[in-house]
Symmetry: C2
Subunit: 378 residues, 2 copies
Amino acid sequence: MKPYFELLTKDEKTKARAGILHTAHQDIQTPIFMPVGTVGSVKAVHQQELKDDIKAQIILGNTYHLYLRPGLEVINKAGGLHKFINWDRAILTDSGGYQVFSLAANRKLSDDGVTFKSHIDGSKHTFTPENVVDTQRIIGSDIMMALDECTPYPCDYDYAKKSLDLTHHWLKKGFEHFEKTKPLYGYEQAYFPIVQGSVYKDLREQSAETIASYNAVGYAIGGLSVGEPAEMMYDIIKIVNNILPSEKPRYLMGVGTPENILEGISLGVDMFDCVMPTRNARNGMLFTQKGIINIKNAKWKFDYSPIDENGTSYVDNQYSKAYLRHLIVANERLAAQIASIHNLSFYLWLVQEARKHILADDFESWKKEIVKQVTQRI
Amino acid sequence: MKPYFELLTKDEKTKARAGILHTAHQDIQTPIFMPVGTVGSVKAVHQQELKDDIKAQIILGNTYHLYLRPGLEVINKAGGLHKFINWDRAILTDSGGYQVFSLAANRKLSDDGVTFKSHIDGSKHTFTPENVVDTQRIIGSDIMMALDECTPYPCDYDYAKKSLDLTHHWLKKGFEHFEKTKPLYGYEQAYFPIVQGSVYKDLREQSAETIASYNAVGYAIGGLSVGEPAEMMYDIIKIVNNILPSEKPRYLMGVGTPENILEGISLGVDMFDCVMPTRNARNGMLFTQKGIINIKNAKWKFDYSPIDENGTSYVDNQYSKAYLRHLIVANERLAAQIASIHNLSFYLWLVQEARKHILADDFESWKKEIVKQVTQRI
């Protein structure tokens, strides 16, 4: 039997790794970026485009959103989220915790879990370490996440410590429940614990050690990219990845810019997700190999060149910058569709290119050059 | 040289016709439905989907919208609208008159044209019978429309008569200008006059005779489907089509429901456009061979069957009713994308099916059955 994670190579000069993650639905080439499909749809993108054009291998679903709409009964009767949305590659779901803390109202935390009111209709709900496992069993994601509290930034030490204790307490309950329960649809599901601890070195070390003590098939780093400086984030990733076992995949939650992702890869992270490529697409920001474009700028008004000559998706050469600019300015739906496909294709290109260079043993020099290019405003 | 319009057959029992319209960019199989691409985009639909999935042969552009955004300079420097939006099949543009009367403010009409304020920024503009020809030369549409006043319903006789005189006066000026000017991009453009006259038989007759006296390659019927009963609309189409020369194509503007279109075809109309399939798609209304679906209804919540087993586009079998319902309820962009592709594919299927039955000489009996099916709510 194949291991869950095959580590193919570790870069000599950085901590970057290339591997294959054998999930139930898909063998995922890592490092990988996972497009966010919040409520069962990657916004403005067809599933077919995700597969054929963007070449996504795994997408995210948000448990909080899916639990509220369409609700578990609809997903369960469909035979799980894959069937419901017609997606036969991998799906990762978060635990719902993040959205409870960012969207829901009237939160009350306890050792048992968190009660909250829906941001849609104010109805009252409870997430516990155990029931978010059950929920993700119903969703049928390839990778389920533990319930955690994602601390804000800044966050004082005492709160961060107290919160971390709660996250660890919840993890114990969640992991036990995970081990006691079975998947519903005939394929295996993984369960990833999450390192927290805000920006405090000792808390992060303590958390990484606690998390690593669970025999999970993969681990996540949460609570970053919440407002802290990027250097602080990189420092914490270094600290955490020194402790997490190297033979298991590491998922940096909610990160980030192309530069963040390349730095994360060089620090030994294998998996990333972020709403940035789709959210920024809807606002007219395009990520390209040559730099960042604000397509709303007047300079593109008469630029009839393709959106991205080097782009990997069909939209890049089918539509011009001037046309995309017009669509954004005129508030046409097609703008978000085109820009989302473009940005996601770029993100998937970026991580696969990183992978190639890790395997070719020239990741560090490639990264140095590509970071310069992709971070400049053009 | 081929005639502009090849009339292949006239149905014996009805007035229905099948033909081929030889436009500069596309040989169009009539009767045809033309998806509306208001401001250079059929809302929520990629150009590739229009071609490959929906099988559109001709789409509409709205001169008023395109004139305001992106503006004529952007379109001109692109080499025309086809190149700007990357669409190599036919385009028809209206004259802008309809939107001036439905969207713009502070309208002032005169023999020379109409001044108005933009609904976007309040800026003042003038459309004349001549300059809307020039504008459509710049847009480069395969079929240009004359400037007319589309009267509302109800409309008193005196106003309708006065308005019709103005429309005819404008037509004279517009047609002369059309004949004096040349296309800008190396291919021919047609110019269709428009029959008006509100719901008044004598005015409609007078208008059809006036319009037919111009040696245009095609004619349009405007001012219908603006609130009058359907039977009244059909009566007027009958009157008008008795006068318009049978060897030229007839375009019924802004119509309509699947039933309206089938009735129009049986009355000798060759071309249709309407925002209904896309606008209603965005509200969750699906047109299918079996009837009309309001996908928001609770009855579809657990219906995991394909959107339309008989549908002709890829979305019909890739996505389920329950999933589409969820997307609409959750206000996800993908809902409009899926439903728009579905509805437009259905409209194109409907007219091509009508064409087949006209050619097979069983249009009347087919129409009787299909109207029953497509008009019922399911």
